[in-house]
Structure formats: C-alpha cells, structure tokens
C-alpha cells in the first residue's frame, strides 16, 4: 500500500556530499589515551558523578548517575583510572569549558560484570524495559539528546504512532545510513522493543529516497522479523525532511502545535541510532558508550567510525588523515545546523553525529559564515524557504532591534534553526545567528528575572527579620526597665503587651502605602480582604515574642 504523503512547504535542495563517507565500511577507532565525559550531554539537568579521582573504572560502569528525573546516567566507555573531575573544553558554541569526568584509559578494555550478557528480551515487562532503557543512559541520538525513556513512557495511552526517523537529510552526515546498512535487523528488533515499551503496535519507518540500498535492507529485515505492523515509507529528498515536525507533517499531514510536542498529537519520533542503542542495551546489557559518527571534509579518508563516547575530536581527525596544522574550522554536526568548535580537544558526546573538518584550502561553505552581509532587500526568499512557515525577515528585523517581545510574537521559539532562510538569502545575512542570539538573550533575561525575584523575596525577609529583631530588643529593654522600677505586676505586663501590640499595629499600618484599588469592591473581593486582614491580625499575635506571652489573658480584649 502506498501511503499518501503531505509535503511540507519550504525547504531547500542541497548537494548531498554523502558518497565520500559511505564508500568504505564503518571503521573502529583506536583507543584514545584519555576519555573525557562531560556531565551534561543531554537535555535536562547534568548527571552527578559517583566516582572519585584515582578510582579504577570498568567499561560500562556507571560513573555519573542521573541528576533528577529529566537526566541520564553516564557510563565509562572503556576501562581505566579516573584522572580528575574538572572543567575541560567541551563541544559548545561558546567555547566555555564544563565539568567532565576524565579517564586515563589502560588499554585492557575490561568490562564491568554483566556487560554484554545476552538477555531474553521477550521475558521483560513494560516497566522493566523502560527501567533498563533509563539505566542504559540512552538519549536521542539524532541530535537533541532528550532522555529516551521519557519518550517511551505511555501510561496515559496518548501515544498511538511511533515514527522511526531514518531520513538523515543534512549534507555530509551518514552515520544513520551506515547503521541501517550494517544493522537493519537489529534496528527492527530495537523497534519491536520500543513498540512493547510504548504498548502500541503502529510504527512507521521513514527513509529518504536517496538511500535505496538501505531501504531495501530495512524492507528485508522487516520481512524476516515478521512484523507486519511496521510500515516502511520513502520520503522525498529535501532538506530538512528529517526534522521531527517536518517528518510528522510529511507522513501524517498533521502539524505539531506551536511550541508543542509530537506527543500532543499522539506521535513519538525516534532516531534509528537510538533504536539500535536500545536493542544493544536490552538484548546485551550494553549501556550507551559508543556510537557511529561521520568524519568528513578535509580529511584523507572520510568515513563513518564506531566511536567511544568521550573520544577527543582531534583523535578522530588524526585517524582519518586530517592535518591538524592546516585546520581552519572543525564543525560538530552538519554544515547547516552544526557549530564550530573552539578546541579540537573537546570530546564527542552522545549526540554527536558528524565531525566536519575544514582546512584553509577547502572550506565547506556554511550558511551562517558570512562576515559581510548586505542590507535586506525584502525579497521574501527566506519566507518561501522556511519549512516551519515563519517570517524570517520579520524575525531578523526584531532580533536585530533587540525587540524580544515582538520577536516572540513572530514565534521565534518555533524556529528549528535549520538554516534554510540563511542559505537562500541573497544578501547573505547571518539570519540564524540572529535567532540564536535572540533566543539565548531571552533565556538569559528570564534567568535574571528569576534571580531578581529571589533577591526581592530575600530582601523582604531581611527587612522583616530586622524589624522583628528591633521589636524584640525594644521589648526586652522595656521589660528590664520595668523590672528595675520594681513594678512588674500582672497589670503592668498586660499594659506592656498591649502597648507593644499597638506599636506593631501602627507600624504595619503606616509602613505601607494605602492600596489605591479598593474602591467599588464586589462582595467577593470584600470578603477576601477581610480574610486577609484576619490572617494578618493572627500573624501579629504570633509575632509576639515568647518571653512576654506568659499571660495570654490580654488577647481577648484586643
């Protein structure tokens, strides 16, 4: 049966550059001297280290556990000794270092107990599957790095369709393609596990029509596995057909709501790499410690390598015959959505799919690389190319004017930073960089707002505390004075209490501006105000310092 496809608007056709790295088989990396494991490799909070410097660790051993419920554990990729847990360059556009567990490898590649032990997957319950996937530290390997187990939880039975994304539409990137070429049967087995974890039957496997060989292999694998619930669909080759929301639209004609998740319309999307990792984790008890990565660009031998997570990028470049002396730029990710590394000692992480090496002689043109842009001529080409249906020109305009409210009104946060607008812009305006700037600036503002709210609260408490201490002091003094006067009768005490309370009340009343919004109140509002007053009154009584509340009979007369 042919499925009807709904093409999304926009997108661009790009030169693929995939042949170079797919003409030779997947290689293995030589063991690097050091493995560097950043604690924050996924969306959510960083993992918490549970090893110490000097400790020996084994391959597959948990070295950092999930920070909370939206996080993922991290495992040692090989055996060795923990050198340090400290700041190290990481793959981040800022070039700022971050906390990493650094392991000196010992070459023995000794595995932790139970690692690689085959397991009968069919015996596991839904909960056991989910727990195992969580424990294996699997996150979305397609690039986003969202902890996978969260996208396999389906208690509410909201999810009805599972989409397996084998599109891989960005130029140069070929790791998913090579995975399907070599492990189609395992991917199908992984998909069966995911169907069981979700408790659903329906699955669609999507592959771009520029990969006929892999399509055929997957077809065979499905046939052999005897899983008729899996539907294989060929999608047209257009960038960014592999974007999650674009793929869902192509396959189902449904649009994910603005700033929503596919889950909202009953769909989850997983990448083929993630699916394979799930299979290895469940069937062989192998946590996520390696993945396929494409090394391409100015290297003698472009190829896909099976790389241990935490391997320094420089190590991979050298292995593929790149000359580190003539590098101009090293890009992590593809030419459209990747970013330039500041330091090639940064390690590859769970979400790294491609290392694009550039040397001074042959530079891969990036959309956002121009240092020299011309004014916008309002040609509208960017809007035609935007696969999300945004208005890139308006976004650019408001981002440039730092009008962060307006830029959000134009749905900045639905922009997937695909770079299509950038690519077609005749004025070579670095549009995506403007959007990234605006997004991060807005996040920073929000963070500042939170911090200032905390400061406000703390300052209010500080003033309250000062006031309370002052009152306590005054009361103490008064008491002392009275004691000296030798007139500490019950009546005097009562009077003292009354006077103190009167003072507090007056202070409270006068320390504030009278509200200006209390005219014409409804009955309801009046009631609320009275309740608030009652609360405040009660609070005032509680304010009374312990020392003088021996006699409480004065309260009724208040």
């Amino acid at each position: 049966m042919m499925r009807r496809l709904y093409n999304f608007a926009g997108g661009v056709r790009l030169k693929e550059h995939k042949r170079e790295s797919t003409s030779s088989p997947v290689g293995r990396t030589q063991l690097p001297q050091k493995i560097i494991l950043p604690l924050h490799q996924h969306i959510g909070v960083p993992a918490k280290p549970i090893v110490n410097a000097g400790e020996r660790v084994l391959k597959g051993q948990v070295v950092a556990e999930a920070g909370n419920n939206i996080s993922a554990p991290i495992h040692a990729s090989t055996s060795g000794t923990v050198l340090a847990i400290e700041d190290h360059p990481i793959a981040h556009p800022s070039g700022l270092p971050a906390r990493c567990i650094i392991i000196k490898t010992d070459g023995k590649d000794e595995a932790a107990g139970g690692y690689g032990a085959p397991c009968d997957t069919s015996a596991l319950t839904q909960e056991q599957l989910n727990a195992a996937i969580k424990q294996a530290g699997i996150v979305g390997l397609g690039g986003a790095g969202f902890p996978t187990y969260l996208k396999l939880a389906n208690e509410a039975k909201k999810i009805t369709t599972l989409i397996l994304n084998g599109v891989e539409c960005e130029p140069y990137i070929t790791c998913d393609q090579m995975l399907m070429r070599g492990h189609s049967a395992d991917i199908v087995r992984g998909l069966v596990i995911m169907q069981r974890a979700l408790g659903i039957k329906r699955a669609i496997i999507a592959i771009e029509n520029n990969k006929p060989k892999e399509l055929e292999l997957m077809q065979e694998a499905i046939y052999e596995a005897g899983t008729p619930d899996m539907e294989l669909v060929q999608v047209p080759t257009v960038y960014p057909a592999g974007g999650e929301k674009q793929l869902i639209q192509t396959l189902t004609g449904k649009e994910v709501p603005s700033q929503g998740l596919p889950m909202d319309i009953g769909i989850v999307c997983h990448n083929v790499g993630t699916t394979y990792a799930i299979y290895r984790a469940i069937a062989f008890n192998e946590p996520l410690i390696s993945r396929y990565i494409t090394i391409a660009g100015s290297v003698a031998k472009a190829q896909v390598l099976d790389v241990l997570i935490g391997t320094p990028v420089s190590h991979l470049i050298e292995q593929c015959g790149g000359n580190r002396k003539t590098l101009s730029r090293v890009i992590m990710g593809g030419p459209m959505m990747g970013f330039a590394l500041h330091d090639d000692e940064a390690p590859v992480v769970k979400t790294t799919n491609c290392i694009l090496v550039n040397s001074v002689i042959s530079d891969v043109p990036l959309p956002s690389r121009s240092n020299f842009s011309l004014p916008c001529i309002r040609c509208g080409a960017c809007a035609d190319a935007c696969p999300v249906g945004l208005l890139p020109q308006q976004l650019y305009w408001y981002a440039r004017a730092r009008d962060f409210d307006k830029v959000q009104d134009y749905n900045l946060f639905d922009c997937i930073e695909c770079g299509c607008c950038d690519y077609v812009c005749p004025s070579q305006i670095p549009l995506v960089q403007y959007y990234r700037y605006a997004k991060t600036a807005i996040w920073q503002q929000e963070n500042e707002k939170t911090l200032s709210d905390i400061s406000r609260q703390r300052h209010e408490f500080h003033k309250f505390r000062q006031e309370r201490e002052k009152q306590e002091r005054e009361l103490r003094h008064k008491q002392k004075r009275q004691a000296v006067d030798g007139a500490s009768t019950q009546d005097n005490k009562k009077a003292a209490i009354q006077a103190a309370m009167e003072r507090v009340r007056r202070k409270r009343e006068h320390s504030d501006v009278t509200p200006k919004n209390i005219d014409n109140l409804t009955e309801q509002q009046q009631k609320l105000i009275e309740e608030a007053d009652a609360r405040r009154k009660k609070k005032l009584e509680e304010l009374k310092p312990e020392k003088i509340t021996i006699n409480t009979s004065g309260r009724e007369s208040e």
Binding site: H40, I90, H92, P93, S94, L96, P97, A98, N371, F372, S373, L374, P375, R400, P430, Q433, Y434, R436, Y437, K439, T440, A441, W443, Q444, N447, E448, S452, D453, I454, S455, R456, Q457, R458, H459, E460, F461, H462, K463, F464, R465, R508, D512, V513, P515, K516, N517, I529, A532, K539
Partner: protein, 191 residues
C-alpha cells in the same frame, strides 16, 4: 569539614523554608503600580538610587517624587522599560553603574583567612547572602549575592577581606554573540 557542610546544608534548608513561609505569610497587599515598577527594578538593593532598596525607590517613582533614571544597575534598558510602563520621558542615567551591571555580573568573595568574624557584613547585606557567626569565618552564598557592594570596606574593617569577583560564565547561560552589524555599507556606494 563535613560538619560545617552539614551545618550549612541545614541552615540553607531552614532559611529556605523560612523564606517560603515569609513570602506567603508576610506578603502585604500593596499598590499594584508600585509592584509593577518594582518588578522592573533589578533588585540589586544597592541604594545607588538614593533610596534604601528597590521597593522604596519604586514607591518614590510612583508618587512622582523620584525620576525614572536613578537606578544604574538597571541600565538604559531599565529606564526604557520604566518609561514604557509609566508613559514618562526616558532621560539619561544619573550615573554609570558602579555595580550590578547585568553585562558583567559580580559577586562578593570573602577571604576566609583574613576574616575576623566581626559580623559587620552580615548586618548590611540586604539579601542575607552572608553566613557566619561572631568570631567565626564568614562566607558568601554566591547564588544569593546581588553584587551590591554594600559589604565592602569601610563596612568590613579588614582590608582586602571582601573583594568583588566576576561571575564565571557557564555554557548553559551563555548568550550567542549578536552578529556584527556593518552599518549599511553599500548604501550610497551606488548613488
């Protein structure tokens, strides 16, 4: 070491609980205009505006007593936001921010070796970001410090005991640089 850490952890918990409690219990229903102004002010609580904190300055603005350009930490952006809110004319800031500038956030740092434990700094810190006890070493809870500089000498009697330190940028809170704007280079070239 462990004990002191435990004590701090316990103190943090207690203070946290107190704070939450205070926020709910002691919130005084105030003037909505003042609250709106206060929401724009940066809450550094440094007093550079000439008022003892952001809320009093907010009240002074609301009553018309103060102008809207007296808060240096808020920067031009803050003045613009206030002008927007109140429909007043934005003027130039009265002073360059000496502190609390959001572009270069600073926090106080106490050299625990030289601190004599006089508790002077605790008394002035507007957000209770300093912990310590008489004749014991004091320390700043970085996450709460607004960088107001009120605790610096002469409040602290020991020279170089409290210094201001740059907040180290982190990858998670990093901001992409704004693309360089080459101002309309080509304009005029053709005309």
């Amino acid at each position: 070491m462990l004990t002191s850490m435990l004590i701090f952890a316990a103190a943090a918990l207690v203070f946290g609980a107190l704070l939450g409690f205070a926020a709910i219990k002691f919130h005084v229903e105030g003037d909505p205009v003042v609250d709106k102004i206060d929401a724009i002010l940066p809450q550094t609580q440094c007093g550079q505006c000439g008022y003892p904190g952001c809320k009093p300055y907010a009240r002074a603005i609301a009553s018309g007593e103060a102008d809207i350009n007296q808060c240096p930490p808020g920067g031009e952006q803050g003045v613009m936001a206030l002008a927007d809110l109140l429909g007043r004319e934005p003027g130039p800031l009265i002073a360059e921010p000496s502190t609390g500038n959001s572009d270069e956030p600073m926090v106080a740092l106490i050299d625990e070796e030289t601190c004599i434990g006089c508790t002077k700094c605790i008394q002035v810190c507007p957000v209770d970001a300093i912990v310590g006890a008489a004749r014991h070493k004091h320390t700043v809870i970085e996450a709460y410090c607004t960088g107001c500089k009120l605790c610096l000498p002469p409040v602290c009697p020991v020279e170089n005991c409290i210094v201001m330190d740059m907040v180290r940028p982190t990858a998670t809170l990093w901001k992409w640089p704004e693309p360089l704007q080459i101002p309309e280079l080509m304009r005029g070239a053709g005309s």
